[in-house]
Amino acid sequence: MAAEAWPPYLLLACVGLYLLAKAMRLRRRMRTTPPPAVMDAELVERLNAGRGPE
């Protein structure tokens, strides 16, 4: 491969790596995002933390 052909392929390789990292990040987000019912319960728990039941 000619030396002058490297910059475009390097650019495309960077785009590919970025997409790969993004895919992994989105996959992790999907696994770690709780369902809405859990978000709801956690929010109420945080809002009442330190207030005491009485």
Binding site: L12, V15, L26, R29, T33, R46, E54
Partner: protein, 316 residues
Amino acid sequence: MNGKLAARFSKPYVTAHRFERLRYCRKCGSVTSLRGAACSSCGRSGTLRPLSRMGAGKARLRVLLEAAILAAAAVAAVYLSPNPLEKAIAAILGAGLLTGCALLLRRYSSTFAPYRLHRLLLDQTEQIARGLDADEKAAEADYDADRYLDCYEKLREIGEFLLTDRIRYNKIICLDHFVLRKDMDLELESVVPHKFSKLFARYLWEVSKVNRALIREKTLDYALRFRGDIERLPYGPELMTNVASAALRSRSNLGACEYLIGDYAVALPRDRFLRLCSLLAASRGEHPELAARAAAVARSRYAGDEAVQRLARAFS
């Protein structure tokens, strides 16, 4: 009617999740749980938006910007290629990467909003807590201005998030200003406090007279826990009779409320005593002590009542 007010509550705002009730002000950024059009912090009207939409515009812009940068990189790769063959290869690779990006966004697009909402709820907890405090102050102002209905409706919204006895007592204090009717959207289970309270016992008595169906597990548990305190009140026996009547709604309550029902069986109205007899007949042998006490009441109080005697024979 002891100076009590006739009130009509607005329909409760029903949402699948509590966070859907929260709105934020586009001008001052404060969060509110109230339904009104005006922000409870800055007082501006028409500036409230659902909290879940906070930052949605920026997130969409970020996705578009990211896609534009990737497209520009693919175009730059084609432009930088030295000959037509290399340009064609770069174009094919660039198109493939952009297609991959589009597929990736499409595959995970359904997770964007829940993820952003989760981050938002975590980051904005302090802001939400401050907003609820401002809402409570607005409710206090309504109470001070004798606007009890507005105050109660505000507290009802705040009480969805703040599960403290203070909010519960304040709600009961407001409800004490109204004539309670069966057609009202009254709440009972959500105002059950942690400690014994004469205020709540009185409200429970009022509610038990107009809508016994509202007495459910949490209230039954409260009545059993503080039975001694309640019975010492002037209206205590009547209240406990109503609670015993309510406990007869479900067969599963017979075990938990066996002694309460047994003690108040003699005071139960005839239809509730018939209900008790039919429950005992359906669960024959499961509650022998209660069955014996009910049979004694049937003999002493309903001696000439054929319907009661027939059922009493079925379980005794």
